[in-house]
Structure formats: structure tokens, C-alpha cells
Point group: none
Chain length 207, copies 4
DNA sequence: TATGAATGAGTCTTCATTCAT
DNA sequence: CATGAATGAAGACTCATTCAT
């Protein structure tokens, strides 16, 4: 009846839709998710959903975009703040705080990343895997520009290898959000990953 | 009229269906592929398809299984013939012939691997990525058993890291069949990949 | 435009669907009835039907359930109000009013009973004949409990005979709704039926 | 190769088809029975069935006709041999041998009668119930012609009552072949049935 | 904002039967 | 007698979205 009450109701419905949709997407994937089911689960009239979202796709985006943006932002920032260190070179970032923040992200948006990586087929995000890989790749290139001053041989590394490395990072994200690892296990993994990666990297750019 | 002519005709239809289906699967993915479209493209009556295949899924399998089997066989055999070499350790195999054979496989079944890795959702092969990752993982474990004699520290490598490595191999396959690389480029990539990987590996298992 | 007008329109479609469905069911039986045909005959979009009914079966039930419920209710009530009378013993009921009400039912729901008895195969009502027979049988048993006080020999009547009697009642219903009898003819028949039945019954339970 | 061998093979297949078809009909009813399933179960090529039968319907008839013919023949003969007896009047026949023969028939063709009465929908026999009822009715009329000499009041019995009696006989057949009664139980039932029926009959035609 | 009705194209699969060989 | 391929229509139901109110 009253304006405020209605706003509250609206917000409730908005959230209810998002929640129901997320469940449905997780269960069946974007393509097989049914608007009817979402409406039913959210206790909202089917057609009323279209007052809140123009599209099935938009619902998906509303669920998934924050997670995506935070991730992009993180990756980009890492690269900006990067500095060159013999033993600590990585486009992903390498300092402890960065890792912790990354783990935070993963835990906060586990389901969303799973959606993006494994259940986005049919949505406008169906190329997320590639897009993220490309983003990593781009950041990596920028890194290498810096490195070249110190390691001229970095030039010798092929584009596709950089791409493969980026693809690896994406895969790792996928595996982490798919398997139920606790923070400690993830931390340990990253330690191995960086030791492994730095050693490999040094091998490739050595004189 | 004649027996042989007939067989050819039948064979033609069989192949036509497979070809049309492959196109359709590549274009739209398993789930969205339309039997109607396949029938139309193959110049076959829709219901007649079911004289050749019992299922949409079976068509997919007929297209994709040879590629899958060859890949599994290759991975498995590599591991059987493996020998320990300080500088050449990899579950994928490392000798030149193996690489060449792998490249052969990739070139022969590029589209099929693409289907399996990116367009199998909804089919009985929708878990191919995981299955292949697990296969790599298993093979890797077997390798590590051998290595342990020489490198007792191999024990320290976490299960999840092995898993991540396997996942990387799958990603790499995906990236290769997605991008149009010529043989030489692929060869070069693998050289880098092995240099990188061996160095990293040695780092992890060093005393 | 106006609310009432709308409701009428909706109602019209609902009724149109029911009507078209009833025709189709009568013509082809449940199993062979075509949703397409029903939609066409009702001047409704095929998929729109599913806004009114969730199922082909539900349409059938909507048509047929009132008739079924009234019949069950009638049979049950008859038995409740029953009293023992030497010359008037029947699970179906025997007083004039009851008969008249039964005839009313038959005339009101002639087509529905026809559907239930002859055209329900494939629907959730396909066992109606048996269910109704069993219902009659159960009611008959209850009657016999009462009668035993007066006619101890009622015990001697076999279960299967009771069952056969019940089955007869169902058959009679079927024959009546299948043949076009006027009320008078039906009334006369029931008079014969009861004379016949009571005589037979007395014979079976006589000392 | 040799003629005789082929004949044998042929006969085998013929029987195999009939057997498989009977199973399928019993399980799913005529309408839902699948020629494919029959072919598979009979180990015969689907299209080869059409060398033995022109139709699904013809298979059904081949299975069911002997049972039907024997039944018709029995009913007809009973009536021919009938004689008037105060205490033994029935179109079904009433002497012990007749009953025994009827029971023989029922036991021999139990499945076939079940098919005819309950699973013939969609076949050319789908009106078997009505046809049999009418046959009983016709025979009953002939009886009544004879009786009229002795019981002029027989005239007073309505056509529909005769029809209802016939329908009862059909129902009884249906119930017997549906429930698993042994011969003794069936015999006992018929004894009750005749006592019941004669008493009722006498009541109706009494002066 | 909310609703329920409407749309129209789409899904895969099955069916009994026929045909050419 | 046997086969496998072919046919063409049909099956119920779902889909995301839009419309009128």
C-alpha cells in the first residue's frame, strides 16, 4: 500500500528471483534452466519477472557479473602493481596478500565462477572461459614488456605458450571452484604452483 | 540396381548423416543441434535417421568416439613405454615420435576434440573434460610411483597439484584444437612446454 | 475491456477446451485423442491449453470427475441409508426416489460415464470399471453384514458371486449410457431388475 | 535349402510371431503394441512379418479368432440343443456337460478372451464386447420364442432386460478370465448363478 | 507492479507400413 | 522368404517471451 512497503516488496522479489535463478542455473545450466521454474521457486508470476529483468540472459548476468568484474579487476590491478623480482614473477600476482584476496574472491563467488566456467552455454557469457583466458593473456603480455628490459630472452617465448599459461590459470580456477578445498589447501597449492611456475619461467628466459 | 552400388548408396547416407550431424553439432552444440536440421542437411528423411542410429546421442558418439579412443590409447601407451630420464619426465610423453603422433591425432581429429571439449553438453560425453583430466591424473600417479625411487620428494607434491597439471594438459588440447596452429608452431610450443614443465618439476622434487 | 467481460472470455476458452476435448475423447478415446485437434476445435493455441490444464489427463479428469464423484457419493449414501426389507434388498438402493436420482445422474452425465467406461484407456482413469466394481462389491459386503442377522445363509454366497453381481451393475450402467433409452424405459428396466434380483437373492439365502 | 526345411522354418517363424505378438498384446494392449517389439521378440525382421500377416490387425485376429469362434459356436449350439425345463432355463446352457465345456474353453483361451474383452481397442475386434453381448441377446430371443408357448408372460420382459442379462454374461466371462479361479470355484459360481437366475426368471414370467 | 493468457516455433522420438532388392 | 532402408505423419509437451489489462 505504502510506497516504502512496496519498495521492500520489490526488493524482496528481486532477490527472490535472483536466488531462485541461481539455484536453477546451478542445477541445470543456463540453457536448460526454465523461466517457469525460476518463477515458481521465487514465488513470482512468470511474466512479472520481465518487470525486473528483460531477459533470461540478464538474470544470468545479474548473478554473475559482480563475480566476473571483481575477478577482472583483481587481475588487472595485480598487473598494475607488479614489480619485477627475480624470484617472484607472475601475472597472477605473487605476494601473500594478493593470494589471500584471490582466495577470498573464490570463496565468495564460488558458485558464480562455476556458473561462468561450466554452465554459461547459451548465455552471452558462454565465451567467458575464452574471454578470461584472453584477459590473462593480455595482462601477461604487459608483464613481459616490463620484463624484457631485464630478460631480453623473454621475447623468445611464443605467443601460444603465453596463451597456454593463461588457459592454465583459468583451468585452475575452474578446478578450485569445482573441488571442495579449504583455504589452507588452496594456499599450499598456490605455493607449489608458483615454485613450479617460476622455475619453469626462469628456464625459458634464461640466457 | 547392383549390390555394390547399393552398399555405396547406403554408405553414402550413413556418411551424409554423420557429416551433417557433425556440422550441426559444431555449429550449435549437441544440445541445440536439431535432428530436423541434420536430416535436411543430409538429404534423409528424419525418421530414416533412426534406421542408422538409435539416438541423437549415438550419432554424437559415432562422430566422436574414434577420436576419444585414440586419445585414451595414446595417453595410456605413452605411460606404459615411459622410462625415467632426469631431463625428460612427463606423463604426456616426451620423445619426439610421441609428440609427432600426438600432433597427428590433433590434426586428424581437431573437430572431434573440439566437440568433446566444448560442445558435448547434454550428451553422454558431457563429462569428457573431467574424464580426460582424471585419466591424465591417473597416469600421472603411475608415473610418480616410478619416480619415487629416484626422487623421494615427489611425495611432497599435493594431489591437487597433480590434478591441476592434468587439467592443464586438457586445456592445452582445447586451446590447440581451437586455434589454428600449424605443426611447426605446435612442435615449438611443446618444446617450451616441456622445458618449462621439467624445470618446474625438478624444482618441486628437488632435495 | 472490462473485468467482467474478460472473465467471460477466459471462461469461454476454458469451456471451449473442455467441450472440444470431450468431443475428441468421445470420438477417439483418451489415448487417440489429439491435443492438436482439441486445440483446433476449441480455437485455442495448442500451447495455450497448458495454461488451463497441466495435462491431457487433467482435461480428462476435469470432464469426468464430477460424474464419477456424484456416482460414488450416490452409491455410498444409498448404502448408508439402507434398511432391511424382505422384498427390497439391494446394494444399489431400491426405493423410488433413489432410482429417480440415479436416472437423473445417468441423464446428466451420460457421456461422461461412457468416457469412463469405454474410452478411458491410457488415462489415470483406465481402471474405472474395476474401481467401480470394487466399490459396489465393498458396499455389497457391508449390506450383507446387516442381512446376516436375518438371513444367516447369506454367508453361503461366494465372494465371486458378489463380485459378479457388482460387475453386472457396472455393465448395466454401461449399457444404459450406451443405448438411448428414455426415462420410462429405464424405470421399467429397474423394476424388472429388482424383481429378478430379489427373487434370485431370496433363492440363494433361503433356508 | 530344402523345401521341407523351409516349411519348418516358416512354421517356426509364424508361431514365433504369434507368440511374441500375444505377449506384446497382453502387456500393452493392441493399440500400444509395437510391431518393432514383436519383430524383435520373435527374432524376425520387422518387414518380414508382413510376409506372414498383412496387418497388425491380422496378427491379432489370428491369435484371437479361434477363441472367439469356439465361443460363438458353443453359445449357438447350446441354444440349438436347448430344451424347456421348468427348473433349468438359460440361454447359456444349464446342463453339467455344457458348463464343463465352457470351463474348458475358458481355461484354454483365458488370455485370448482377456485380449478380446480388455485389450482389443484399436483393432477390428474393439467391439467384441458389444458383439458378444448382441450374440447372447439374439440367442436369448430365440429361447424366448420357445418358452412363450409355455410362459406367455415371457413377452412382458423388456428387450433391454434381455440385453442387460446378456451383458451380464459377458461381464462374468470377463471377470472369470481376469481373476484366477480354479475349476471348482467356477463350477460353484455357476451353480449359484443358475439358482439365482432361474429364480429371478421364474419371478419375471410367472402368471 | 502484477497477472494470466497468448504465441508460435520448437523438441526428440515413434508409429505401422511399404519398397527395392 | 528375408532384409534394411524409406516414408510421412503424428505424439505430447516445453520454451522464452509478449500482450492486454
Amino acid at each position: 500500500m505504502f510506497f516504502i512497503e512496496m519498495r521492500i516488496l520489490k526488493d524482496n522479489k528481486y532477490k527472490a528471483i535472483l536466488q531462485a535463478a541461481q539455484n536453477e542455473f546451478v542445477n541445470k545450466g543456463f540453457k536448460d534452466a526454465s523461466m517457469r521454474t525460476i518463477a515458481k521457486d521465487a514465488n513470482v508470476g512468470l511474466s512479472n519477472i520481465y518487470n525486473y529483468f528483460t531477459n533470461k540472459d540478464e538474470i544470468f548476468l545479474a548473478i554473475v557479473n559482480p563475480a566476473k568484474d571483481k575477478l577482472y579487476q583483481f587481475v588487472t590491478e595485480q598487473h598494475k602493481e607488479a614489480y619485477i623480482d627475480f624470484d617472484n614473477i607472475s601475472p597472477l600476482g605473487h605476494n601473500e596478500e594478493a593470494i589471500e584476496y584471490y582466495i577470498d574472491l573464490i570463496f565468495k563467488y564460488k558458485e558464480e565462477y562455476r556458473l561462468l566456467l561450466y554452465h554459461s552455454q547459451g548465455s552471452s557469457m558462454e565465451n567467458f572461459r575464452d574471454m578470461l583466458t584472453d584477459h590473462f593473456t593480455q595482462v601477461s603480455y604487459d608483464f613481459m614488456e616490463l620484463e624484457k628490459e631485464y630478460f631480453p630472452n623473454a621475447n623468445n617465448i611464443s605467443d601460444f605458450f603465453i596463451h597456454a599459461m593463461s588457459s592454465w590459470m583459468v583451468s585452475i580456477l575452474g578446478e578450485i571452484v569445482t573441488h571442495d578445498l579449504d583455504r589452507q589447501k588452496i594456499r599450499e597449492f598456490f605455493r607449489e604452483y608458483f615454485r613450479f611456475g617460476f622455475a619453469g619461467w626462469r628456464e625459458l628466459i634464461k640466457l
